[in-house]
Amino acid sequence: MAQALINVPAKARRGEIIEIKSLISHVMETGYRRSDSGDLIPRDIINTFVCTYNDDVVFRAELFPAIAANPFISFFTVATESGVITLSWTDDKGATEVRTAKITVE
C-alpha cells in the first residue's frame, strides 16, 4: 500500500480560503527509462488526482511523466460547509489510493 500524507485544516470559518496539501509515495516511472538489460521499463505514473468536498469535485489534475516521484500537490478551495474532503490518486496500473479528512466549518 502506498503511504500518503494529507494536510486539511480541521476547522475553518465559512467562506475562508483554505490550503489542502497532499503527499503520496509513488515511483512515477516515466516509461522512457531502460533497465540494465536494455528493456524499456513500462510507464507507471499516477495519472489522475481528484479532490472532492462533500461529493463536489473541487480540484482535479491530470499528471504526466515529467512529474517527480512522490508527488506533492497543494491547492486552495473555499470552506463552504462542514463535511468530508476526499483525496484520490489513480495510477497506470489502475490502483487507487483514497484518503479522507473531516472539516468543521463555523
Partner: protein, 267 residues
C-alpha cells in the same frame, strides 16, 4: 601561528572527559572552527528548508511511515519484530542514530546503522538481511534515525574507534581520482562557495538517510559517498566496505555537536 589557529587548538584541548580524549587526539589546526561549523541545512534555499521542516511535505516521512510498520512486523525464523526486543522506538531508539557508526566487538571494527539493522535481522530475527539501498532498509533506518531528531551527534566515547576515525580522516584528505581532488579541498577549504550553481556544503551527515531531490528517493550516506567519489572520477568503494564505514565515522566525528535532522531533505 595565527590567532584563529590558536583558538582552534585551545578549543580542541578543552573537553577533559574520556569522550573528549578520542576527539582531541584527532583534532588538527586546519579543521573548520567550531564557531563556523554548521549543518548543511543552513546552506539550503528557504523552500527546501520549509519542505524538510513540514512533516506533511517532507517526502522522507513517507519512508518513516513504512519503517514504523516494519518495526512492528514479525519476521524471520524467530518470528520476532524489532518492537518485540526494543519496545517503543521513541524511547529505545532516541539518540541511537547520533552515535553510529559504533564499534562492533565481534567484527573488531565499526559498523553503521544500516549494518546494525541487518546484523539484528540475521542474529536476532533469523531473517535475511535487507539489500543495500532497498526500500525496507532505508525505511527502517529512517524510522530509527527519526527518533533522534534534534539530538546532538555524540563524541565517540569508545577509544577503540580512534584508529578508524584516523583512517577515515586520512581518506578524506587524500587526493584521489582522475580529478586529483580530496574531499577536504571542497568541504573544509571551500564550503559556502559554489561549484557551478550548487553551494558547497561542509558535508556533515546530520540527516541520513535523507531524501535527495536529485535522486527522487531516500538514500544512505554510503550512497552519497559513492556519488561524491564518482564525481571526483575516483572508483567508489563497494556498499558495506570497511573504507565506507571509516569515512562515515570520520564525518560523524567531524560533525559532532551538530543536531541530527533525519529524514533531511537535500537538493
Amino acid at each position: 601561528m595565527t590567532a584563529a589557529m590558536m583558538r582552534r587548538l585551545l578549543w580542541s584541548g578543552a573537553p577533559g572527559l574520556l569522550a573528549g580524549l578520542v576527539a582531541a587526539a584527532v583534532v588538527r589546526a586546519g579543521d573548520i572552527a567550531p564557531a563556523d561549523k554548521r549543518s548543511d541545512y543552513s546552506l539550503m534555499s528557504r523552500d527546501t528548508q520549509a519542505m524538510q521542516d513540514d512533516d506533511l511535505a517532507n517526502p522522507g516521512m513517507l519512508f518513516v511511515l513504512d519503517g514504523e510498520m516494519l518495526w512492528s512486523r514479525k519476521d524471520g525464523a524467530e518470528n520476532r519484530s524489532c518492537a518485540d526486543c526494543h519496545g517503543d522506538a521513541a524511547a529505545s531508539m532516541k539518540g541511537v542514530a547520533a552515535r553510529y557508526p559504533a564499534y562492533e566487538a565481534t567484527l573488531a571494527r565499526p559498523i553503521d546503522l544500516e549494518q546494525r539493522i541487518n546484523s539484528c535481522r540475521a542474529n536476532h530475527q533469523g531473517a535475511t538481511p535487507f539489500a543495500w539501498e532497498s526500500k525496507e532498509l532505508l525505511a527502517l533506518a529512517a524510522f530509527v534515525a527519526r527518533q533522534s531528531r534534534g539530538v546532538a551527534i555524540a563524541e565517540p566515547a569508545d577509544e577503540k574507534l580512534e584508529p578508524f576515525i584516523r583512517a577515515g580522516r586520512e581518506m578524506f584528505e587524500r587526493r584521489q581520482g582522475q580529478l586529483d581532488l580530496s574531499c577536504s579541498q571542497c568541504h573544509d577549504d571551500n564550503w559556502g562557495r559554489r561549484l557551478a550553481a550548487a553551494v558547497i556544503p561542509q558535508g556533515h551527515p546530520t540527516g541520513y538517510p535523507l531524501y535527495r531531490l536529485e535522486w527522487q528517493n531516500l538514500g544512505s550516506l554510503q550512497r552519497r559517498l559513492r556519488n561524491c567519489m564518482f564525481g571526483m572520477r575516483a572508483e567508489p568503494y563497494a556498499y558495506g566496505a570497511p573504507e565506507q564505514v571509516e569515512l562515515e565515522l570520520y564525518l560523524m566525528w567531524r560533525a559532532r555537536g551538530l543536531a541530527t535532522d533525519s529524514p533531511a531533505v537535500r537538493p
